[in-house]
Amino acid sequence: MKKYWAVLTVTIKEYFVYRLNFILWRFRVVLNILLPLFLWSAVFDKSAVVGNYNMSQFISYLVYGNLIGTFVFGTRTFDISSDINDGKIINTLLKPVSFFTYSFAKELADKSVNVFFAFIEMYIIVSVFNLNIIPPKNLLLFIPIFVNSILISYFINLTLSFLGFWTTEIWPIRFIYVMLLSFIAGNYFPLDILPQSLYNFIMLTPFPYMFYLPSKLLISNIAIQQYNNSFIMSYLWLIGSYLITRLTWIKGIKSFSFWGR
């Protein structure tokens, strides 16, 4: 465990080597929350309720969701595909560590740094624009679902990176994934304001379980029973994404060859 802790701390230190780069990266994150936040605030100027949400519930969903998203979506797995393509992955494979735990330690470092700064940024946004945020609810239910979100996102990102064993064109595939994630995970609005059939369809995909479900839980007054199907789906996607990742890894590592190291 000590060695993975070392990986985590070294990764955190790496971020603070390029401080200006990091500050500007955080600036970009802040910019991205502004559009949905103000767009929906403008809608609430004329409507007291959107779907089943009043303004403070809706804005709280976006604010909590942004914090969750920072932790869930922050990833270092981008490096893995390029490491596979240029052979650098051999350096990691030769180390006496589990590849999955090693990369998860780096992933956690990325997420921890991001979420630390996200809290500060959100606090500033909420204070400056005087946003009315409701206190978080259902924390006991939220925690396991939140852990699921992190793991589902991690496994899907790993799988995408492992495609590097077969192709160098990972970026376009990841671009599609990021687009889907940005828009149908619920980053712009709670998904249950969509027409019911569309909502049901989206809930069959893994995306809502990475953002919508944990964010919704934090603002929700609805009885737990109503979430049963979503909880089951969340665990199914967790198991499914893990199995796909392991399978891709096993197949990929068998087909992998490199030279000169």
Partner: protein, 260 residues
């Protein structure tokens, strides 16, 4: 002029060949861009299914803002995609090879990577804009000319932004995503800037002129811009271009080449 066009044509041809070498990539990238466009387009409809007006704008007006943003953004990406690849050339020192070429470096680092994927997308954007513009009752010949003039003005501002990004790549090799900051900032103007509270609205109009760049043309088309604002826009864009060129010249003197 003829020589410049020939150089531009040659670089565009090379870019075309490079892009279409990876056919699967082309398909996925176009799919991703189409998906992003359709999602935000649907978002506007979703919003207007919940309310009739957003900050005084109707559904059709909001769509005109969004389409105008897409037309400007895509055209700029068609022309200036090479800027995204500039920083590695500075870090590796291979910018030397460009400086040695017998033409202005902007032909290579600014205009040298025409993005043909966005050319495919801009056609439906323009057709949709025409469709929705025709639904606006106040539209006139004058407003169309104003719109086109302000679109040209937007390209001047966008050019300035990209020159500043190039200059910053030389001045601070530490930052590797300056162009993405530009994209994120301009992305805020997908919808009218009135949705934002102050000071955001003021900053993104008068300090970082994304409002002038993305919102003013649509406002002109809708007849919502007063004549003094036109003059201000043109003055601001020329000033912004001059500042960017000055910054570029200054940055160039700081370039340290190989092993610097």
């Amino acid at each position: 002029m003829k020589r410049s066009l020939k150089i531009f044509y040659l670089y565009a041809l090379l870019s075309y060949k490079t892009i279409f070498q990876t056919k699967l990539g082309v398909v996925f990238l176009i799919m991703g861009k189409v998906f992003r466009f359709l999602f935000l387009f649907s978002l506007i409809y979703l919003i207007f299914s919940k309310t009739k007006l957003v900050k005084g704008y109707t559904l059709d007006q909001m769509i005109i803002f969004y389409l105008t943003f897409n037309i400007i953004d895509s055209t700029v990406q068609i022309l200036y995609r090479e800027v995204y690849r500039f920083r590695p050339q500075i870090v590796s020192g291979s910018f030397d090879l460009i400086l040695l070429k017998p033409h202005h470096p902007f032909f290579r680092i600014l205009l040298g990577g025409v993005d043909f994927l966005d050319i495919i997308l801009i056609i439906p954007y323009v057709l949709l804009l025409i469709f929705f513009a025709l639904k606006i009752e106040t539209i006139s010949f004058v407003s169309i000319i104003s719109y086109l003039t302000l679109i040209l003005n937007s390209f001047i501002i966008a050019t300035s932004f990209h020159i500043i990004v190039l200059a910053l790549a030389i001045l601070t090799t530490e930052v590797d995503h300056t162009i993405m900051i530009y994209r994120d900032i301009t992305g805020l103007a997908r919808f009218p800037l009135e949705i934002y509270k102050q000071p955001i609205q003021g900053i993104f109009t008068f300090v970082i002129p994304v409002g002038i760049m993305m919102s003013f043309p649509a406002k002109a088309l809708l007849g919502l811009l007063n004549p003094a604002t036109y003059l201000f826009s043109f003055f601001f864009s020329i000033l912004f271009l001059l500042i960017s060129l000055k910054l570029w010249k200054s940055a160039l003197t700081k370039y340290q080449s190989w092993g610097g």
